[in-house]
């Protein structure tokens, strides 16, 4: 280790104990004291700087985990809150549908007829069925007229 570096370390240590070092300079000190083979006059500082290095690394991890936990709790709380709001809104919507009276019993739109169990909506087909039905009715009318005529004679 050269003398310039040792002088720098001594200067930094002095600055550190005067409360004048920046975070970058403190990191330099920690990195320096993490090394093996320190000069005897500097060995006494090693436990302190090693402790600070370890402690700050662990604290950064623990603070990160705690922040993540707090964010997860906030997320669960808002999920619960919005879940409740959504459930209330859904209940109101269902109640609204169930409690609203029907305005007309023939709510179906469009015209249709039922023939032999079949629903017919095509107007032309409907007309054909109707004409066929009228044709059936006509001979029955003729029978009645014949009977009336016979009765009167």
């Amino acid at each position: 280790m050269n003398n310039n570096m040792l002088t720098d370390i001594h200067r930094l240590i002095e600055k550190y104990f005067e409360g004048q070092t920046s975070s970058g300079e403190e990191k330099m000190l920690r990195d320096y004291f993490a090394q093996p083979g320190l000069p005897d006059d500097l060995k006494e500082y090693a436990p302190l700087f090693r402790f600070l290095d370890n402690e700050s690394k662990a604290i950064a991890v623990l603070n990160g985990i705690r922040l993540d936990d707090e964010a997860a709790v906030r997320w669960r709380q808002s999920l619960r809150k919005y879940g409740t709001i959504a459930a209330v809104a859904a209940s109101l919507f269902i109640a609204l549908i169930l409690l609203t009276p029907e305005t007309s019993s023939t709510s179906q739109k469009g015209n249709y007829v039922w023939v032999d169990g079949q629903r017919i909506t095509d107007p032309r087909t409907v007309r054909e069925y109707a004409e066929l039905s009228f044709d059936k009715v006509q001979p029955e009318n003729d029978i009645i007229a014949d009977q009336l005529r016979a009765f009167s004679e």
Binding site: Y16, G19, E44, P47, K57, A58, V61, L62
Partner: protein, 169 residues
């Protein structure tokens, strides 16, 4: 093999809820439980080289959390006045309790905790949480010169107590 920071994070995340449950059950207080779990986790990190000798690391940590919680309820934090007094006494002699500590890291942490509250907070923010002096000024509302003075006094005091401790040891 010693654990790295990623492995440490994985272990803390895995153990945290059970440690918190134990600490909260004993201390009956969420803040104290958080402090206990933080101390257990810090101890875990400082002792990471010795982890291989424990068969069940989680059980070891839970036992540590239980013991630390019991210690905490036995000696609830002293008031500000008492803390200051403790700090002043520490200038004259090293408290016996420190000599009973097995780990250097526990000793240094306890030395820091003996500082007067303001010095302790500023040292914690600067040397452990990594804030710059102007950030500490902004957060605490204390003038930059006062921050530097308190920091300097705190660091010198820690150095002095560490010297005594390591000489006796």
């Amino acid at each position: 093999m010693s654990m790295d920071i990623a492995e440490y994070k994985r272990i803390v995340v895995a153990f945290r809820s059970s440690l918190l449950a134990v600490a909260r059950h004993i201390t009956g207080n969420t803040q104290d439980a958080e402090d206990v779990v933080q101390d257990v986790c810090l101890k875990m990190w400082h002792q990471r080289d010795r982890f291989e000798q424990y068969e069940n690391v989680e059980a070891y940590c839970v036992t540590m959390a239980r013991n630390m919680s019991i210690d905490r309820i036995r000696s609830r934090r002293p008031s500000v006045g008492e803390s200051v007094l403790l700090g002043q006494e520490a200038e004259e002699r090293l408290p016996d309790s420190l000599l009973e500590e097995k780990d250097d890291s526990d000793t240094i942490r306890n030395i820091i905790r003996m500082l007067p509250p303001l010095q302790q907070r500023i040292l914690q923010m600067k040397d452990i949480e990594g804030y710059e002096t102007d950030e500490i000024t902004r957060i605490t509302g204390i003038a930059p010169e006062a921050v530097r003075n308190n920091l300097s006094r705190a660091r010198k005091r820690v150095r002095e107590l560490c010297r005594i401790y390591f000489q006796i040891k």
